[in-house]
Symmetry: C2
Subunit: 170 residues, 2 copies
DNA sequence: CTTCGACATGTCACGATAGGAACGTCATAA
DNA sequence: TTATGACGTTCCTATCGTGACATGTCGAAG
């Protein structure tokens, strides 16, 4: 049920259409909670049915601008402070590690080296984002930077771990 | 499509029944790729239909022992070495961070402190697992330890990050 | 001999994810 | 004027994940 709260969270910064939210997602939340366009629109519909958001205005091209309601804001705060985050980590990359014995040692090492490289690329990408959004003073930017810092630290240990793991394989 | 490869991976260490796999999952893969019993059984059925595993023996209580086939082993190796891991990270915990501006600063700090505590608990749990499985010499144990090391390092930075983030909030 | 816990599989329903097709509008530049 | 690209929504299909429920067998303890 996190997508619903992601949408509420974005709307808590101001009204937006499904289309707006899609773009916002792409440049902020997509790294911590990916969602597709169809998911967004259907979620907005459900949210409106549930009274957590309302259609604040209808614009050109059938545009519907949604605004968070008081119930929606309350639900968001409740979710943030009182609902325990579910810690289900799923990693395709790490799953493979369990089975590396099924391939040659040099292939296993190559796999880990490749992961280290991919992480490096991702780190560079995050660095460039940091330089880009460093100036924003809105809530999403401020806390987005804190989340980004998480990504940077995570990437760093991933790389160190991959290099360490490669050395473990003989 | 990773559950299918998780099952193939476990079967590559030797034949097992759905029930066996369930237990294996719980004590090895569940931290990187959770799966429920119903998923396992239906996946085994599909795998058998696809010829990637075969029913090697039928035992008491309707037990069906599955074994990986040559096609299955080939598919597993192919997946490990040639399929790019999808890096879709989803974090309920991190998503909330984006919206911490919606609650009081002291609540935001409490949230981060709580996450640090939860991570600490999880780290202790992983340490105890490490002491427990440190002796195993089978493939899954050897590579499981490498995966566990990942978990330990990850947990450590998560905690450091949460503590750092808490300080950022004024 | 009964009961209980471990063994063992299967099914159903619901919601979440993924990805794309279909449809239409508006502004603007060639 | 017309083509194009950005805007904008809706619907559809398929697979995955979650949790509960139903159904039974076997061995061992009491």
């Amino acid at each position: 049920m996190s997508l619903r709260h992601a949408v509420l969270g974005l709307l808590s910064e101001g009204p937006a259409s499904g289309y707006d939210l899609m773009k916002l997602f792409d440049l902020s939340l997509s790294n911590v909670w990916p969602a597709t366009q169809s998911q967004l629109y259907s979620e907005l519909g459900k949210l409106a049915d549930a009274g957590l958001v309302s259609v604040a205005a209808e614009g050109a091209r059938g545009r519907k601008e949604y605004a968070i309601t008081e119930e929606g804001a309350a639900e968001l705060r409740h979710w943030i402070t009182e609902v325990e985050p579910v810690r289900t980590m799923r990693s395709d990359m790490l799953l493979r590690v369990f089975f590396l014995a099924q391939v040659d040692p040099q292939e296993a090492r190559a796999y880990l080296r490749r992961q280290a490289e991919l992480v490096t690329k991702h780190l560079e990408h995050m660095e460039s984002i940091r330089n880009f959004v460093d100036s924003g003073q809105d809530n999403l930017s401020v806390y987005g930077r804190i989340a980004l810092e998480y990504g940077l630290r995570l990437g760093t240990v991933q790389r160190e771990w991959a290099e360490w793991a490669e050395e473990q394989i003989r």
